[in-house]
């Protein structure tokens, strides 16, 4: 991982924080507050537990592979990010499927578009990396460009879950 990658990573984090801050200010000005009802809070707690368990199982599995086989299948940073994304995806998808992801009165359309955009962005950046001659696997180990693929895949799964739930809800309302 070189300096330009770290700089790009820091810039990406800054952009994400800035977007989050703009959303928070707009919501505050409009008087929109994130409020989950009692069923949603219960469902979110359950989903959080499953996400946390997923992360624990992943950490144990990665540790066991390293301890018993000594196989270097990717660097620590990539392994950490893959576990983090997997756990977050489990949490978000379960919340979406149990109608506990969007707060009371919140409309999923904006998030559907945003999620689709982030998924596409992750996959486009991954494709660009491959186009630039970077390799997904080097010396038998995944390289850090796997993270872009994982971001794209995770958001694609979340996007699919949102789309499925939105269409299912519309059909039920009819």
């Amino acid at each position: 991982m070189n300096d330009s990658y770290l700089l790009g990573l820091a810039f990406g984090i800054l952009i994400a924080v800035a977007i989050f801050a703009v959303f928070a200010v707009v919501r505050k000005k409009r008087g929109v507050e994130t409020k989950y009802d009692e069923r949603q809070e219960f469902a979110r707690g359950k989903a959080y537990r499953h996400g946390f368990l997923t992360l624990l199982i992943y950490c144990v599995a990665v540790g066991m592979v390293d301890l018993n086989f000594g196989t270097v299948w990717c660097d620590v940073y990539t392994a950490m990010m893959l576990g983090f994304l997997t756990a977050i995806t489990v949490f978000v998808v379960e919340c979406i499927l149990t109608d506990a992801y969007f707060a009371v009165g919140e409309r999923p359309a904006v998030w559907l578009v945003l999620t689709g955009f982030i998924a596409a962005l992750g996959l486009v950046v991954f494709a660009k990396d491959l186009g630039d001659g970077k390799r997904l696997v080097e010396n038998g180990a995944l390289t850090h460009i796997t993270i872009n693929l994982a971001y794209g895949a995770a958001f694609l799964v979340i996007f699919a879950a949102m789309l499925f739930k939105t269409l299912k809800d519309r059909a039920a309302e009819k």
Partner: protein, 66 residues
């Protein structure tokens, strides 16, 4: 077990699930889950629903055979 009495009381006032949900401050899916029997609401939410529909707790939530 489905809560048909809640559904009937809501329909009696010509309210949609969304309208009742807005009145008691929950999501439409939560009202749907209560009517389908998939979720047991707390006493606080039961009371709010009763107030919104002008019914008593007994009329909407008490099971005679329990």
């Amino acid at each position: 077990m489905k809560n048909l009495r809640l559904k009937a009381a809501r329909a009696g006032l010509d309210l949609s699930q969304q309208q009742l949900a807005d009145m008691v401050g929950v999501s439409r899916q939560t009202i749907n889950a209560i009517e389908k029997g998939d979720y047991n609401p707390t006493i606080k939410l039961c009371a709010a629903i009763c107030r919104a529909l002008g019914k008593t707790l007994d009329e909407l939530f008490w099971e005679e055979d329990q």
